[in-house]
Symmetry: C2
Subunit: 154 residues, 2 copies
DNA sequence: TAACTATGGTTGCATATGCAACTAATAGAT
DNA sequence: ATCTATTAGTTGCATATGCAACCATAGTTA
């Protein structure tokens, strides 16, 4: 929800500002990765991060962690596998399941994204105090809860 | 920037929360439009809103207003024209330019999205005071400025 | 054991998006 | 007046995303 324009004064609503903020942070990461010669998208980096923390997850688990549809995740993984960042291994007991592992190359590129990510976080929270950050997060969580509730009664 | 996972405790950073909030609000709008039988996407609705406020903009102007690439906007317009929500007319003096106008049908569907959008705004700002909203907007603007500045020095 | 159900993953179809290369047309400069 | 540069818009190629239908496998139930 960004840019809902009505007579209702939209610029005073939160929606468009949230959208634009995300857009700029995404663009920043994209540019930074590119300028460091890292052949990776933000989304792929997020997947690498999950695997780096917890290797050998299956596809559905990863999809849940990153709030994406399993089909979207499957396509991300296909690209990442082609680039050699991850490998999929069939689960020994349950042959439906693919367990996903980082390769050395995947681990390496994730390592290289670290300082870039850290810098993005620093910029994002540049002039916010710890308590302001926590307050913002609280508010965002509440907004999410409100929408979730309203969705159920839709 | 949502979900950057590192040893650096990510869940305490603002990024993922912003991303997830947008995701849920987008999903809410999508569901609400669908349930009201409105054959329109959020992005198309945003374009209709701009035209509703200011009919006869050209494509680049619209693209700027909604922070999208002109190619993306061109494709949005193509779909909207096919559905009969807008029409494009060549500028009389400058034949490179397309001026874009709402059709009656486009105006009508935008009218129908109004209460849905208003409700989404209400949910979004449900338990925030006016001053909190303004504070949040201020913070988001500052974050955007910070990223813009860093992008230049990248 | 056979039949039904639930689960993990893939694929078709659709949306939106950006960059870069391209065309057409206007504006500017020599 | 002609050549050049700029501008508006389109298109190819690529990314990411979700839903629904589907396949294969596993689990459950009759």
């Amino acid at each position: 929800m960004q840019e809902l324009d009505l007579e209702i004064d939209l610029e005073k609503s939160l929606g468009p500002w949230l959208g634009k903020t995300i857009k700029i942070t995404d663009y920043y990461l994209h540019e930074a990765f590119q300028q460091h010669g890292l052949d990776i998208s933000k989304e792929q980096m997020i997947v690498l991060g999950k695997l780096n923390k917890n290797d050998g997850l299956n596809q559905n688990e990863i999809a849940d962690l990153i709030w994406r549809d399993k089909s979207s995740l499957a396509r991300l993984l296909a690209k990442m596998e082609k680039k050699g960042y991850i490998i999929k291994r069939q689960h020994e007991q349950d042959r439906r399941v693919n367990l996903v592992y980082l390769t050395d190359s995947g681990r390496e590129i994730f390592r290289k994204t670290r300082p870039i990510i850290q810098k993005a976080i620093n910029i994002l929270e540049m002039d916010l105090s710890k308590s302001e950050i926590n307050r913002m997060i609280e508010i965002l969580k509440r907004i999410q809860d409100n929408f979730t509730r309203e969705l159920k009664s839709l």
